[in-house]
């Protein structure tokens, strides 16, 4: 059994939980907004993400250096949306369906996320199709900070479990 992550003890890390409530490929309606949950980004979560990918950039990790740098304070790496995607996704959402396979992504970056930001996600399936007997969904996602500014926006394709 998987323990809840120390970085976020309330996060449900068992992806089988509520699996029966999630929409299958047949049930996903392109264009329909997904329900999402706001997430407070912390320095600890950023530091753990940096550790997992070997990031050592002082702009993400060293408060004094970051303060003297171009952003006037600590920021998160652009790729932090990888964490935000799951942090903002409720347990009954199809993005968590076990066996969901990532088939490619494209992301555009506007301004950096910062520790302390309250992040919100606007997301939906935009399209779905069948190719070589595989069931694809195209999803689009936009992350905002507490001031309503766009942090980043992206589109991904997943192959849905059959």
């Amino acid at each position: 059994m998987i323990q809840a992550p120390s970085s976020n003890p309330s996060f449900e890390s068992d992806f089988w939980k509520d699996a029966n409530l999630r929409k299958t490929w047949d049930e996903i309606i392109p264009g329909e907004p997904r329900r999402t949950i706001p997430y407070k980004l912390t320095h600890e979560a950023i530091a753990l993400f940096c550790k997992a990918v070997g990031e050592t950039n002082p702009l993400y990790l060293d408060e004094a250096a970051a303060k003297a740098g171009p952003f006037g304070g600590l920021i998160a790496p652009p790729s932090i949306h990888i964490l935000l995607m799951f942090a903002c996704t409720p347990t009954d959402d199809w993005m968590r369906s076990p066996g969901t396979v990532n088939a490619g992504q494209s992301w555009s970056y506007n301004i950096p996320a910062r520790p302390g930001d309250i992040i919100t996600l606007q997301a939906r399936a935009l399209d779905k199709f069948i190719k070589r007997e595989r069931l694809f969904v195209v999803h689009d996602n936009v992350f905002f900070n507490q001031n309503g500014e766009v942090i980043c926006s992206g589109r991904g394709q997943t192959i849905r479990p059959m």
């Binding site: 550790k51 990918v53 171009p70 790496p77 990888i82 088939a103 494209s106 970056y109 007997e133």
Partner: protein
């Protein structure tokens, strides 16, 4: 080392970090990304097939590739005051514990727009056997106000 838009040449190469993939690195990425899909955790589950695909064991998150390419691009761009603006990727091959992966970038073209300057970069990740596991394209902005030198 810093680069300037004017001195950037088509074909210039950006070297990325070497990354060793292990069960531990994959588990750490689960905790860091909150992506606990059993694809990355559950050996029993991974004996099964997914549609037409059988991976034969747990696999690394493909977004670990994405984060590694991002690390390469920001490490290259930030010291010069350039900004990583876009990354598009496709996955070609699953990455497994024991693999070593390394991203590389190659400057494909330069573009000046009404208000800014852009470098378009082809990115590739290869594994220890020289196989390509991910490919993509990136856009890095060199704002006009950036100091030269």
């Amino acid at each position: 080392m810093t680069v300037t838009f004017d001195h950037l040449k088509i074909g210039d190469v950006i070297d990325g970090p070497v990354f060793s993939v292990s069960r531990e690195s994959i588990r750490l990425f689960c905790d860091a990304s909150l992506d606990y899909n059993p694809l990355h955790l559950d050996d029993e589950y991974m004996k099964g097939s997914f549609g037409k695909t059988n991976f034969g064991g747990i696999i690394m998150h493909s977004m670990n590739n994405f984060a590694l390419i991002t690390r390469m691009l920001t490490d290259w761009a930030q010291p010069s005051g350039a900004i990583h603006r876009r990354l598009e990727t496709r996955w070609l091959k699953p990455v497994k514990p024991g693999d070593t992966i390394e991203p590389t970038g190659v400057i494909k073209s330069k573009q000046v727009t009404a208000k800014s300057r852009w470098a378009l970069i082809d990115v590739i990740i290869h594994n220890q056997n020289g196989e390509h596991v991910a490919i993509g394209e990136a856009m890095v902005e060199f704002p006009v106000a950036t100091k030269v030198g």
